[in-house]
Amino acid sequence: DSDTKVALVPGGPHPYFTAWEQAGKDAAKDFGLASADYKVPQKWELGAQNQLLESLVTQGYNAFLVFPGDPVGTVGIVDELVGTGAVAMALAGCLRDPSEAVFCMGTDTGNSAYLGTQELLESLGGGEGKKIVHFTGFLVDANTKLRIDAVEQAASEAGAEVIQVIADIDAPEPAEEKINAYLAAHADEVDGIITTAWVPAVVAANALRKIGDKRIKMVGIDHDEVLLQAVKDGFVHGTMLQNPYGQGYIGSFAADKLRQGCTIKADAPFKSNALTDKFIDSGTVFAGVDEVDDYVTSMQSITKTLFESFESTYLDC
């Protein structure tokens, strides 16, 4: 059996990462790892994540699958983890190059926002002259800027206009207040809503349901029940789904392989995004009303495809 002890470390408590726990357990069982544990920092703080990672080193973990609390800020600690002889990779979100992470597997945040906006504009029957609004998370998160830019780009390419960006609404209370206030004032001026963070997506879906306006189209992000239900009921056009389970499962597998002596292929077909040139897409799909019911199956199939070809595509063993 392998002596690989994998730690899957999100940025903080968040429902998005819950699937990592099962993914780790399954991977540990399937690949005979010493363990693959889901370790959550007590809060969304860089310091808390760092302290957790340091304590995991002390506890003998030797493979780290880390969601970067900050694309640049987490580089330092990842480099130190690698310095202790461990394998480290960025999961779900990427570190900004250069870093010691072997690669980044997850969602290209910018691209996901870009694709989502395109879906939105398509649903509006083409973007020309359309007005959309963008609800997103904390500005201190560098990814937020990437999302804002990506939405802007997709809109301008299609001739649409982003008339307002409301950011810093990662907490439910302000999200509620601001989104509702916005809709109260501007509901009749806006054609579409793109949300690129979990909480705003949920809150906006509820708000649309409340005002009962199906004219305004919205594309959300992630797989919250409220959102999925709103898609089914037609209040939300669709959502950009990601694949946390696949990230955790394949990530644990890869980490173990790398510890067993495999190396990354020199010509591995990594993709590039705004942050890194060593990016592996764990699957980002748009799920409209037709897809929401079996999104789990479709994610599983993406995972399966990615997993089956992973070793041959990316690793030299």
Binding site: Q42, E45, G47, V57, V72, G73, V140, D170
Partner: protein
């Protein structure tokens, strides 16, 4: 005159008997001194640190490993300075909610000076700290000029400073910093001690001297304890308040720059949204260390030990592997247990020794 931290101050029940005017005979004096030491807040914290260290060393493997000690020292080093930056304002009877915000501004300023303006690291540090002093002093001036409570002023400026920073940087970071500056944060002296910890100790000594042995420090204490009396004694209370906010800015800046050196980059998110992540460590150290929230009393050593205790407890809990989601509950319980133990110790000593 209500105090927030009533029994955190031993003054109510502890007598001090230690110099020539004392009528007590020599041996009595010694025991009095010993009692005073045993009853002090600092001693209590030290005792707790030792007790918990022993417990953790026994039950958690790896607690005493050099990496663990190094990491703990480094984390504590920053938390202690953050605590200091709040302490100097608490002493004046005020608060500074913008410590985190200032810390990030200084860090980003330092990053800009080193990366964009091309300053050598020491000039970058000096320039950035000057920025911290200015921002802090601005807080002080606003408080003095408007006569509003520092709580509300720093609440507003927290938003303003942070907003200006995020607007100027557009949430971008500076990571091409001089290598000698960045290695500083990762260096290990003798394999266990982080140089950041040494910086912290030096700052601590300077602060202790400031409060004990300088006119300005004593004035600050007097103005914080009773502004009316201080004013009637000829102290310029306004200037003192501006001074302590400027100091707070510099200290927050030091903490920010330490984090930059540690992370290897100046990033806007290092203290969370609006710098709020720092609020907890900022208050924890001083309050546990016996600094009264109503002002007038500071304990540099107490703040240092208080911040260290919290770092120790957190590290220990993480190593104990209580289920990830329960760490916070346990931390709260441990904190409660720690202050209760300290209370018991004090009342036990008071009952059995002092009468």
């Amino acid at each position: 005159m209500n105090n927030f931290g009533s029994t955190q101050s031993p003054s109510q029940d502890v007598g001090i008997l230690d110099d020539e005017t004392s009528p007590a005979p020599g041996s009595g004096r010694l025991t009095q001194q010993l009692r005073r030491l045993l009853l002090s807040n600092e001693f209590g914290l030290l005792a707790l640190i030792i007790i918990f260290s022993i417990i953790f060393a026994i039950v958690t493997p790896g607690f005493t490993s050099s990496f663990s000690l190094f990491a703990m020292g480094r984390t504590a080093a920053v938390n202690i300075i953050i605590g200091f930056s709040m302490m100097v304002v608490i002493v004046s009877g005020g608060l500074n909610l913008s410590v985190g915000s200032i810390g990030v501004c200084v860090a980003m300023g330092g990053g800009w000076l080193m990366q964009v303006a091309g300053f050598p690291w020491y000039l970058g540090v000096v320039g950035a700290l000057a920025l911290g002093a200015m921002i802090g002093a601005l807080n002080g001036v606003l408080i003095v000029k408007t006569g509003l409570h520092s709580f509300i002023i720093t609440l507003a400026t927290m938003s303003i400073f942070f907003g200006v920073m995020i607007f100027l940087t557009q949430a971008g970071s500076f990571r091409e910093l001089p290598p000698e500056y960045v290695t500083f944060g990762r260096m290990k002296i003798n394999g266990v001690v982080s140089p950041l910890l040494i910086v912290t100790l030096v700052v601590g000594v300077i602060l202790a001297v400031f409060f004990k042995l300088t006119t300005a420090g004593r004035r600050l204490l007097a103005a914080g304890a009773n502004p009316d009396a201080a004013e009637l004694s000829g102290i310029r209370v306004d200037r003192t308040i501006i001074l302590c906010h400027a100091m707070s800015g510099v200290l927050a800046g030091i903490a920010g720059l330490m984090l930059v050196s540690r992370t290897g980059a100046a990033i806007p998110s290092m203290a969370g949204q609006l710098g709020q992540d720092w609020l907890l460590p900022a208050f924890l150290g001083p309050v546990l260390g016996g600094t009264l929230l109503t002002g007038g009393r500071a304990s540099v050593l107490g703040t240092l030990l208080g911040a260290f205790l919290v770092t120790l407890l957190t590290t220990g809990l993480l190593l104990l592997q209580v289920g990830a989601f329960w760490v916070q509950t346990c931390l709260g319980l441990l904190l409660l247990a720690a202050v209760l133990i300290d209370l018991l110790r004090r009342s036990y000593l008071a009952r059995h020794n002092l009468i």
